[in-house]
């Protein structure tokens, strides 16, 4: 767990729940809140500012429309690495790839007993 008390969704265990606080690395433009400036631009954004801004937009939109909004409660149902996670959000079940799951930051409800034990140390 980081100093801010957030952990990536991908590190949570089945049964863990929490509140979605931030989705990192989506947008690198504008004056987003401090929480959003953690991740630097990744390698894939070579084509220039406009391209990645648009791409980040689209993605954030998609996530929003599927219910992944800041402040939303999420619960991990399945997390078998490698492979995608299954997460409960607003009564639906979403399947999230590992890449995006490492960017979705959660404030866990019940400490992070499980998260500290397992996948963090693997990497």
């Amino acid at each position: 767990m980081g100093a801010d008390g957030l952990i990536p969704l991908g590190f949570m265990c089945p049964g863990d729940s929490g509140v979605l606080e931030d989705i990192r690395g989506l947008r690198h433009h504008g004056q987003g809140g401090p929480a959003r400036t953690h991740a630097g631009p990744s390698k894939s954004y070579r084509r220039g500012h406009l391209f990645h801004a648009d791409r980040g937009h689209r993605l954030e939109h998609r996530l929003n429309h599927m219910g992944l909004v800041r402040g939303e409660r999420v619960k991990v149902l399945k997390n078998d690495a490698p492979g995608p996670l299954i997460v409960a959000v607003r009564g639906t079940r979403l399947c999230l790839g590992r890449g995006i799951a490492s960017k979705v930051m959660i404030r866990p409800d019940q400490g992070d007993v499980c998260a500290a034990e397992t996948p963090l140390q693997e990497s």
């Binding site: 729940s17 504008g30 004056q31 987003g32 809140g33 990744s42 390698k43 894939s44 937009h57 689209r58 993605l59 954030e60 939109h61 998609r62 996530l63 929003n64 429309h65 599927m66 219910g67 992944l68 909004v69 409660r73 619960k75 149902l77 399945k78 078998d80 490698p82 492979g83 995608p84 299954i86 409960a88 607003r90 009564g91 639906t92 079940r93 979403l94 399947c95 999230l96 790839g97 890449g99 995006i100 960017k103």
Partner: protein, 682 residues
């Protein structure tokens, strides 16, 4: 009275997986037909509903989560509502997942059309401990709400009643709009004023959309609306100057882009409504669906179970299909006998009907059961919700290809037919993933190739038919995997888009819904048999019959001359001129390979006679390389057309044709030459 009210048009909108199609089927019964939206390949379903001696049209709009300009489906929905002005829009809302579904509702309300909420799957919601106060919900949203359980056809009559009442103007809709907060509202007002003041906009755009809607969309940075407005008043008219000002102003206030603010406000509105009208348990309880998922997507069991379902699908297709095929075979050959015994003069007519039409079309028609079974299986996989799990399970494998699990669904559909397979790639958000998935889709052995395999394996590999057919499917998959990796590496490099997909709850498919689903797709083949294949068969017959005096389909006939002209191209693969002709015509539709041989051999649909004829032309080795060639070479005409439309590029359609032709030639060459070296020549 019927004719007067028949003009009422109702549009069905809603999120994917909200049960829209079931509601559509309940409303219209079997009175429906499928077409495409003008200019695009998104399926458009229309039907007629009856209620108390009146009837009205129902249009099923594509399922969407929102009405942005980010996807084709969303643009179709909003364009339809804005320009066709349906009398009523029925918004199908999944009650068990109401917040997310209501987000779309807010946007439909903003379009300024009468909206009725069909609160669907109320049973599922109740079982999950979600209690919804329907009257209060209706009050808060200012529109009628009808509870339905689509899968049990509950609430359909009430829904029809509400639709007609709303269309007759007997229902008062309170125009409730989302309040975006006073700062945003102030800018919306300014923008509205600027838009209305724009002289060129008045008739066309403002006739369809309200100024408020346009203003909100402009703040949301909606590309389409920007483009539309620019086409009327240019890039730097007063409206755009106001827009820049408003954006700048709001940006300084909110410190983030306005689009997000607007989305947040809409969610805020929805959350407010839900807080009042919905009572739920705080905890996410484990549902039956989750328990099923614990087994079906289990880390260890998931894959074997999936493999079993795939095996079952092909088992049913081949083995059950074989018996049904025999029934049709008897019918078709009975028809051919009837024609040839009764129509002896003129001789050419008898030959045209029995050799050309019945021989050509009939030899393809006998495989219809197998085609329908495979579509039935695919429909069941989709309708139960298992298809999304298959994508989940296959994600690891697909990852290795640089794609993700969602790309697997179009591949699986490709086993039925590559046309829906290519169209199903539309759910992929990444353009690069989509291109790769489209390009390799034709390598998935579709059911139109089945007749070819069935015919050739029966003639040459009667003892190991199953293994040989399996090896061809496997070859297609293997090559698709290799090419996907190559394309990813050389044509579409870069990281793949994040993988997010909804897993709909498991459902019992309704027999009616699944059968309609199967019929929609399978009937394409029937139509194809009646049109393209019929025409192809007649052309081949003509080429075989003329010039007069030449032996029917002999080397002196037109078809023989054409074949011999092309023969040098396929000679290195061990094929003769008949193969050249069959493959040439097979480009139209791969089943035509079979009907060509039916016509060339002049034995009609009698499969034993075709088999014997083929044994004079092929050896087991060349038969196998011929099947491989048929599998791999150019996608059929319909698939090429759909690739062109979906990629919006002739270049990529031509690329798909070219690479597969080269691939087929090379693979057939390797199979033939290596086979000869290994002594399989006899």
């Amino acid at each position: 009275m019927m004719s007067e009210s028949a003009r009422i048009t109702v549009a069905l909108a809603g999120n994917p997986n909200a049960g829209k199609t079931t509601i559509f089927n309940n409303l219209t019964g079997s009175r429906q037909h499928v077409g495409n939206w003008p200019g695009v390949t998104v399926e458009k379903k229309e039907g007629t509903a009856r209620h108390e001696e009146r009837s009205f049209n129902v249009v099923d709009l594509p399922g969407t989560y929102s009405l942005t300009a980010y996807s084709l489906e969303e643009v179709i929905v909003r364009d339809f509502i804005a320009s066709e002005r349906p009398d009523v829009v029925v918004d199908v809302v999944d009650a068990s997942n109401i917040e997310r579904n209501l987000y779309l509702t807010t946007q439909l309300m903003e379009l300024g059309v009468p909206v009725i909420l069909a609160l669907n799957m109320t049973d599922v919601a109740e079982s999950r401990g979600v209690g919804i106060n329907i009257e209060l919900l209706s009050e808060l949203l200012g529109l009628p709400v009808v509870g339905t359980v689509g899968f049990r056809n509950q609430g359909t009559t009430e829904l029809k009643g509400s639709i007609l009442a709303a269309a007759d103007g007997e229902v008062r809709f309170r125009r409730i709009t989302v309040n975006y907060g006073w700062e945003v509202e102030e800018e919306i007002e300014k923008l509205e004023a600027a838009l209305v003041a724009e002289p060129d906009l008045s008739s066309e755009l403002l006739g369809r959309y309200s100024p408020r809607w346009l203003a909100v969309k402009l703040l949301e940075e909606d590309e389409r609306v920007e483009k539309d407005i620019a086409s009327f008043c240019g890039q730097d008219c007063a409206a755009f100057r106001q827009l820049d000002e408003s954006r700048k102003h709001l940006n300084t206030i909110y410190g983030e882009d306005i689009e997000t603010v607007i989305v947040d406000m809409r969610y805020g509105f929805v959350a407010g409504v839900v807080r009042e009208a919905v009572k739920r348990r705080f905890d996410e309880p484990l549902t039956t669906s989750d328990r099923i998922d614990n087994i079906l997507t289990n880390r260890i069991l998931g894959f074997p179970i999936f493999a079993f379902f795939m095996w079952l699908m092909f088992f049913l297709t081949f083995f059950l299909g074989k018996y049904l095929t025999r029934v049709i075979e008897v019918l078709v050959s009975g028809l051919a006998d009837l024609i040839s015994s009764n129509l002896t003069s003129p001789a050419w007519l008898g030959s045209l009907l029995s050799d050309g039409v019945v021989g050509g079309v009939g030899s393809v028609l006998v495989f219809l059961p197998q085609i329908f079974i495979i579509f039935l299986c695919i429909s069941i996989l989709e309708d139960t919700g298992y298809m999304a799990r298959a994508a989940f399970i296959m994600d690891r494998v697909m990852h290795w290809l640089g794609l993700h699990g969602k790309s697997f669904i179009p591949m699986l559909m490709g086993f039925g037919c590559n046309v829906p397979g290519v169209m199903a790639t539309r759910t992929l958000e990444s353009e690069r993933d989509r291109m790769i998935t489209i390009l390799v889709n034709p390598l998935m052995s579709c059911s139109a190739r089945l007749p070819v395999y069935a015919l050739f394996t029966a003639a040459f590999f009667a003892a190991n038919q199953g293994i040989v057919v399996f090896s061809l499917y496997f070859m297609g998959i293997l090559l698709a995997v290799l090419l996907a990796k190559l394309f990813r590496k050389f044509l579409f490099p870069g990281e793949s888009e994040p993988f997010v997909m909804e897993l709909p709850p498991y459902r019992w498919p309704t027999p009616k819904g699944t059968l309609i689903h199967m019929w929609d797709r399978g009937s394409l083949f029937l139509r194809k048999a009646g049109t393209v294949i019929l025409a192809g068969s007649v052309v081949i017959w003509l080429l075989s019959y003329f010039p007069t005096g030449a032996e029917y389909a002999g080397s002196e006939s037109l078809v023989g001359m054409l074949g011999r002209a092309l023969e040098p191209l396929v000679k290195p693969l061990g094929f003769d001129w008949t193969a050249a002709v069959a493959l040439l015509f097979g480009f139209v539709a791969k089943e035509i390979v079979v009907s060509t041989y039916g016509a060339i051999l002049g034995v009609g649909d009698n499969s034993t006679a075709i088999s014997e004829g083929l044994q004079g032309i092929f050896t087991p080795l060349t038969a196998y390389s011929f099947m491989a060639f048929t599998l791999l070479y150019t996608p059929c005409l319909a698939t090429v057309a759909v690739i062109r439309r979906e990629t919006n590029s002739w270049k990529w359609a031509a690329f798909a044709v070219a690479y597969s032709l080269v691939l087929a030639w090379v693979m057939a060459f390797i199979i033939y030459r290596v086979g000869l070296l290994l002594g399989f020549g006899g």
